[in-house]
Amino acid sequence: MFQVLAGLATGGIYASLALALVMIYQATHLVNFAQGEMAMFSTYIAWSLINAGMGFWPAFLLTVGIAFILGIFIERIVIRPVENAPVLVVVVVFIGLLVILNSVAGWIYTYTIKSFPSPFPAEPLFGIRYMSAHQLGAIGVTLVVLAVLYVFFRFTPVGLAMRAAAQNPVSSRLVGIRVGWMLALGWGLAAAVGAVAGMMIAPIVYLDPNMMSGILLYAFAAALLGGIDSPVGAVVGGFVVGVLENVLGAFVIGNELKLSVALVLIIGMLLVKPSGFFGKVHVTRV
């Protein structure tokens, strides 16, 4: 029971990151390998702000805002020029981005592991003893993020335009949508969601430039489990992966092999059901 609940807490974080992956996938049809490093870098920004004396929540909100703007900048400056380039070129750009963000973080903040504060109290919330306050709080934050995104994409004109631009750029231009800006906005949102995930996971895994490499693998597994083109699938997949990881890690394979759960899931899904449980099967006529 305890392991399931703990799994839900980390699962929520995987879900957020998986959702960020799906958002960029829907717009570009590519998986952003640098997603985790973008989140890591944002978390360092939050750490700097907090160390400069800012309270957690103001720093949190400011970091989300900064991540959003950085995401837009990255799309405009780095991704835009390779928009029509072959897939491999874009993948190389993603990997380059990953390496650059990782090294820059290491250069500025060094590779020493730092602790990152949790905004939630040390004693259990609401007398719930099965979960720490941070775990409960992380689930809460995740659910708020998901709800905000849902309302945004479902009920606002800009959200609708972003969905339209992702699935049919030509028709979108014909109704006057500035497709390029919608893609940039998608990157901004994905970066912001990733920043939230980073700040929620950092108190658990501690802060270092490589903190997200494992987390990103779980997020990949979550996205693939749900279907890389399905936001709902990514969220469900995130929670499932979180629980699986914790339960298997605690009772079956031990903590050392936990990461291999993600790899097994990734390879297994790709072999058995590449479209995921919620994704669409794409059939192409030849």
Binding site: P157, L160, A161, R163, A164, Q167, N168, V170, S171, S172, R173, L174, V175, G176, I177, R178, V179
Partner: protein
């Protein structure tokens, strides 16, 4: 007054020219038909007007040069394009498709009013308002494409084969609606049609394209009486 003036317009797919310096004008409030066989350049002409292909030459809309503008800015001037292949947003609902048509407009109430108006024209769309647009039949998607264009409250509609895939009865109904929109709201239309007889019934003016050149133009009733047109395009 000429709403649209096109001069020496060429269009290219890659380096291959498809239009060879065509020129035509469209009067404000008129319906002008663009006729021609497959491959004559009709669809390309409409795409060229919306900056969807590479062009050379002049396009003047309401006195303003627009040939260097981006597609999304041309739409904002009030030019709505019902594209070849309908351009449905397949994963969005019918109503979301329609709302996207009014994306550039402000004023919620007016948009809501127009939504009710197109539902009035096409009750079938109202029945299917919350259905994924990709699951609509071809004919319904064609109605959706026309309705989406109407949601812009355009000054000029570019219609690429609006009758495509519709049953004959529906074609007549659709053309009736287009005529209403034209007469009542003064929306000008540039109509591309394979169905030359119906197009000439609706249009005031027509241009005949052959392999990327204008070979004949005039009032619709004159074109209809032209022997060559009658034999080649009207089939009697």
């Amino acid at each position: 007054m000429a709403l649209l003036e096109v001069g020496a317009l060429s269009a290219f797919y890659g380096a291959t020219p498809v239009l060879h310096g065509i020129g035509f004008t469209l009067q404000e409030g008129s319906i002008t038909a663009l006729l021609g066989a497959n491959g004559a350049g009709k669809t390309t002409t409409l795409r060229a007007l919306c900056a969807m292909v590479k062009t050379a030459g002049q396009i003047r809309f309401a006195g303003e040069r627009i040939e260097r503008r981006a597609t999304e800015d041309i739409v904002r001037l009030g030019i709505a394009h019902v594209p070849d292949g309908r351009g449905t947003f397949a994963n969005l609902t019918t109503e979301e498709n329609l709302r996207l048509g009014a994306y550039t407009r402000r004023g919620r109430d007016a948009v809501q009013g127009d939504l009710e108006r197109v539902y009035g024209y096409f009750p079938r769309l109202k029945e299917r308002r919350s259905q994924q647009a990709g699951t609509l039949s071809g004919g319904e998607q064609q109605m959706l494409a026309v309705s989406r264009a109407l949601m812009l409250r355009p000054r000029l509609m570019l219609l690429d084969e609006p009758s495509f895939g519709l049953a004959p009865l529906l074609v007549r109904e659709l053309f009736g609606i287009l005529q209403t929109v034209n007469r009542r709201d003064g929306v000008s239309m540039l109509l591309v049609e394979q169905n030359a007889a119906m197009a000439l019934d609706l249009a005031d003016h027509a241009y005949l394209l052959e392999t990327g050149r204008v070979v004949l133009s005039g009032p619709a009733h004159d074109i209809r009486r032209d022997d060559a047109v009658r034999r080649s395009y009207l089939g009697y």
